[in-house]
Amino acid sequence: MSSHNSILVLFAHPVLEKSRINRSLLHSIHGLDAVTIHDLYEVYPDFHINVKREQELLVSHDIIVFQHPFYWYSSPALLKEWQDLVLEHGFAYGQEGVALQGRKLLSAITTGGSEPSYSRSGYNYFSLRELLTPFQQTAQLCGMEYLPPFVVHGTHQLRETQQIQQHAQDYQRAIVALRDNLIHWEKLQTCQYFNQALDQVIQPGVSHHG
């Protein structure tokens, strides 16, 4: 892997105007070098996805991020449509589908429910990692490495601007570290969430501001 990674953020939110947390997260990584933000609902409001263009975007980046709210234990519809169309046989998987091999996939998720709700005793029963296994397996089938997800829980309770700012900062740190290859990859894979202990997985770098 080269010392720098290019990052493609596939962002999917049907009503961004109503989501402060996602606006803040997105804003924090806006304009970073080597980070491409691809706002799917803005580009394809009619769900008419340009498959060829999407595949070219994928191939020209090293790390792919799916950033989206966690709707009904999955992604919003357009990102699912995107997966169905873009991750074609012969491109992403199958005998000749090797275009994505060696890349990394990160899920950046916001959930309304709190962290404890995603446990056997909570109303979501399954852990978030369990619920994300479809994404994990998608990555595996495409020969990509699935990273522990970046998660913001309990967005209903996130009223304080300060709290939101903290998550946005963390997100920016994570993305920049991924870009600058400042990650303890082995340590990261032992984590549940990417952002549970950022200080441990990110090497003290030169600077984390692009």
């Binding site: 049907p14 009503v15 105007e17 609902y41 803005e42 580009v43 409001p45 959930t111 429910g113 209903h156």
Partner: protein
């Protein structure tokens, strides 16, 4: 003279009006009805028509000429190409085998081989008029047997050209019956033009005329029709169409050729042109009436004196021909893998003699190929056999079909009329073109009608197949295949005309799904009240898209703008149907419109008030319930 003409017209018309419906009611079919009417009013019945019956027949032959023109128009060259195997195979074998048998019998009966060959070429022909009419009337045209019969009829229609060219070569100079080649060369016949031509010259003349019709049809007629169509005078277009048919009739007669063939050829050549449907709908009524007249005069002209002189011979000939034809046709049907039932239908549709036989026999007499007495008897045989075909069809329906009923359920292919398309688009301007291009791009074949000659010319240059015609005329829609079509897209830009077309086609083609372009809201209300299946206001879609782009430029997220437009559209269309239902009263309509507009605003804005997105609810709270 005048009163005599009207008297005659009255006799013919009342004979048709009385006997045809009765014959149809009795299940005999219209052809038999006409023929019987002819016999009844003829010299051997009520004697209402006498000698002049022959003149009437001569005149009414023009109906056959027109029918062949229409058959030609139906036959685009590519359909002809698709049917090439049944046409050449079935038609060719049938003619070959039957001709050989008839010729052999003739020679055995003591005729010269030339006479026998002439008779063998003419007698096996079957009437297209009767065959097609009978099959259509009984809805059997699309069956495998019907298609086979149609193919054979087509082959014969084409085969008559070489037969006509060939007949003069069989001329026997009475003094040189040894039939030396020199006899053919020296045998001189006065052609109808009065000029003296040898057989070879006549042949050349025939080829020249045929070539002339093809070239003129291809290069001359379209500009002429375009010029006429630009005048927007429908009666002048009809006159031009009639003029074309009459002109070809005169030209071919001058060349000593059958006019029916000339017009058939002209029909095939014009089948590719944009004026196809318009020509069909203009000629059809004349054709129908004249053909009826023709059948009546055939009935009236049956010479019962001649028959009475040698009743057994004539009867034997009629039945003999029917048997030979049936056996050969059923055998051919088996050879070409038709089911037996279809093979029988195929045979029974073709037992009758051909109206061409009248022309050919008289031509053969003129060319001194056959003596007048022989021709006369054979014409009587043909005329009598024409009454057989409808009877055979009745026998087929009553006795043959029931026996096969359990074995072959209705699973017959329908290929032959795939000539017409499932979608008719009326009007091919800014609106119709978009609809048409989308359909074509998705492999749907469409029939396009437009009434601007310039527009058609332009579109044809771009490779579009567009036909000239005023779609508000039912007969034109009919000719364009509205009977078989599934969809009619009314895309013209004249408010009143759209309403008229919608109303007419609802009435005449109840199975047709109608889609109409609405000029504006008020027009849309009227279309809704007329029960149109799909309505699109012509500017609504693009204006809505413009609105979406405006919202986006104002900073609204693309997806939100997109959904807002969808909600707006749904609401607006519901309101449109709602208001259309409350007809008339202006004040009510205005009040309703205001109310609905307010509702919509509320729906769209209520969305923005929910600042905090609630996980447990659907993220979209603005969509009205469906």
């Amino acid at each position: 003279m005048d009163s005599d003409f009207f008297g005659q017209a009255f006799v013919y018309l009342i004979a048709a009006v009385l006997s045809v419906p009765i014959a149809k009611r009795l299940g005999l079919g219209s052809v038999l009805g006409y023929l019987i009417a002819g016999v009844i009013i003829g010299p051997f019945g009520l004697k209402l028509v006498g000698q002049e019956g022959a003149d009437v027949m001569h005149f009414a032959e023009f109906g056959v000429v027109m029918m062949l023109f229409l058959v030609g128009l139906e036959l685009q060259p590519d359909l002809l190409w698709r049917l090439r195997i049944p046409i050449v195979g079935l038609g060719g074998f049938h003619l070959l085998v039957t001709t050989s048998i008839v010729m052999a019998i003739g020679v055995l009966a003591g005729l010269s081989w030339k006479m026998a060959l002439a008779i063998g070429l003419i007698l096996p022909l079957s009437s297209t008029a009767i065959g097609v009419q009978t099959l259509n009337e009984r809805g059997l045209m699309k069956t495998a047997g019907g298609q086979a019969a149609f193919s054979v009829l087509l082959f014969q229609a084409i085969a008559v050209i070489p037969i006509l060219a060939f007949l003069p070569l069989l001329a026997t100079d009475s003094s040189l019956s040894a039939a030396l080649p020199s006899a053919i060369l020296v045998s001189t016949e006065p052609a109808s033009s009065g000029a003296t031509l040898t057989g070879w010259q006549q042949t050349l003349m025939v080829i020249g005329t045929v070539g002339g019709i093809i070239l003129a049809g291809k290069f001359l007629m379209r500009p002429i029709f375009r010029f006429i169509a630009a005048t927007r005078l429908p009666e002048i277009f009809t006159a031009t169409a009639l003029l074309l048919v009459v002109g070809i009739t005169l030209a071919t007669q001058a060349a000593g050729l059958s006019p029916a063939l000339g017009t058939f050829l002209a029909g095939v050549v014009l089948a590719e042109s944009e004026y196809r449907h318009e020509l069909m709908s203009n000629i059809e009524p004349f054709q129908g009436l004249l053909l009826g007249l023709f059948f009546i005069s055939v009935g009236a002209s049956i010479d019962f004196n001649l028959i009475m002189q040698q009743p057994l011979l004539i009867l034997a000939l009629v039945l003999g021909m029917a048997v030979i034809k049936s056996v050969v046709l059923v055998g051919l049907g088996q050879f070409f893998k038709l089911e037996l039932l279809q093979g029988i239908l195929f045979a029974f549709a073709l037992v009758q003699g051909d109206e061409f036989a009248f022309v050919l026999f008289s031509f053969a007499t003129q060319s001194h190929v056959l003596p007048a007495v022989t021709s006369g008897s054979l014409v009587a045989v043909v005329a009598l056999s024409m009454m057989l075909s409808p009877l055979f069809m009745i026998a087929y329906e009553k006795f043959v079909q029931p026996r096969f009923a359990q074995r072959s359920p209705e699973r017959e292919a329908d290929e032959i009329d795939s000539n017409e398309n499932a979608v008719i688009i009326a009007g091919f301007g800014r609106f119709g073109q978009i609809v048409g291009r989308l359909l074509m791009a998705n492999g749907c074949s469409i029939t396009v009608l437009d009434h601007s000659p310039d527009q058609i010319e332009l579109l044809r240059r771009y490779g579009w197949k567009v036909f000239y015609g005023d779609a508000s005329r039912i007969d034109l829609l009919h000719a364009a295949g509205a009977e078989q079509a599934k969809l009619l897209v009314v895309a013209i830009d004249e408010r009143e005309k759209i309403l008229q077309i919608v109303k007419q086609s609802r009435k005449h083609f109840p199975h047709l799904k109608i889609m109409a372009r609405a000029i504006d809201r008020r027009h849309a209300y009227e279309l809704i009240r007329r029960d149109v299946d799909i309505i699109q206001r012509e500017t609504f879609g693009s204006a809505l898209n413009m609105g979406v782009e405006a919202l986006k430029l104002l900073g609204v997220r693309a997806y939100k703008a997109h959904r807002a437009a969808l909600i707006f559209k749904q609401h607006d269309e519901e309101a449109m149907y709602d208001i259309a239902a409350s007809e008339g009263d202006e004040a009510v309509v205005i009040a309703r419109s205001r109310q609905l507009a307010e509702d919509l605003e509320q729906i769209l804005q209520s969305d923005d008030r929910e600042l905090i997105h609630d996980f447990d609810r659907a993220w979209d709270t603005s969509a009205p319930d469906r």
